[in-house]
């Protein structure tokens, strides 16, 4: 089954698309959760249940949005590529591996696009889930979750840097800087609203 999937990935050249979706939507998931956490961090004390509920809601929304948007765009794109190839071949390719791949790969890419932000958001929320255990010592769960979000942003940057053949540390630090700027903007906005 995995051989078949690998073959379909090669035929449709979907590997690079899946990797790109993983990084971009994974980044979305981490930053969206980081945004929520920063909002809760700055404002008045909120119970962990409310924070987890809000972050989980955002993660599910990102999952559904990732799946549907990628499926709609990729199925149309793969269908178009198949028809263009059929024009060159002057034959129907519906029953060939190309036809099978054009029907299956949009689902695979959509799943990756949906699961990337969902799973990464769950990872960010991990310290909140295990708040009672105090795995991170005396660090409050919200601060621990924010630290995990920054760490995941750095790792996503490292991964994308390695894909692009760039220096991993620079790519990681650049992503981390984007997350830090996002956090600062949210912090400043919330402080501004609170002052008013």
């Amino acid at each position: 089954m995995f051989d078949r999937l690998r073959s379909f990935l090669r035929i449709t050249e979907s590997g690079k698309i899946a990797r790109r979706y993983f990084v971009t939507n994974g980044f979305d998931g981490v930053l969206a959760t980081l945004g929520l956490l920063m909002g809760f961090r700055v404002n008045v004390k909120t119970s962990l249940d409310v924070i987890i509920g809000a972050c989980l809601g955002a993660a599910v929304a990102l999952f559904m949005s990732g799946i549907t948007s990628a499926y709609i765009s990729e199925s149309a794109e793969k269908e178009r590529e198949l028809r263009l190839l059929e024009q060159s071949m002057i034959a129907s390719l519906d029953h060939s591996v190309h036809g099978q791949a054009a029907r299956l790969m949009p689902w695979v890419i959509a799943l990756i696009n949906g699961l990337a932000p969902f799973c990464l958001a769950l990872l960010v929320m991990f310290p909140l889930f295990i708040a009672e255990v105090q795995l991170f010592g005396d660090v409050p769960p919200l601060d621990a979750a924010i630290t995990v979000a920054l760490l995941l942003t750095f790792l996503l940057g490292v991964y994308s840097g390695r894909l692009g053949g760039r220096f991993w540390l620079w790519s990681g630090l650049r992503s981390l800087m984007i997350a830090a700027i996002t956090a600062i903007i949210i912090f400043a906005l919330n402080r501004g609203l609170n002052v008013q």
Binding site: R10, I11, E13, L84, S88, M89, H95, S96, V97, H98
Partner: protein
């Protein structure tokens, strides 16, 4: 029915699966299938290849079907080598 020992086919195929994968898939269709593949022409989305398949007993229908599954189309059968399956006179008398 005569036994097919060798066929040379003119095939139009998409770039993927590539020449190596295409030849390996065909070679795996039977025991001791030898597949020689020559890329004759490369276009934007397709390749024209010359396939030479040799074996003790080639199942042509299976090969033609597999080429179709891999997205290829047989344009022509350019060469064939077949052997009669009937026993020779000497074998019949013995």
């Amino acid at each position: 029915m005569a036994i097919v020992k060798r066929v040379v086919l003119d095939v139009l195929k998409p770039h993927q699966p590539d020449a190596l994968e295409f030849a390996c898939e065909l070679a795996d269709l039977g025991s001791e299938y030898q597949v020689d593949l020559l890329v004759k022409e490369v276009d934007d989305k397709t390749q024209t290849i010359e396939l030479t398949i040799s074996a003790d007993n080639i199942k042509f229908e299976v090969i033609a079907n597999h080429i179709k599954i891999m997205g290829g189309a047989i344009h022509s059968i350019d060469e064939v080598a077949v052997l009669s399956s009937k026993p020779s006179e000497a074998e019949q008398h013995s």
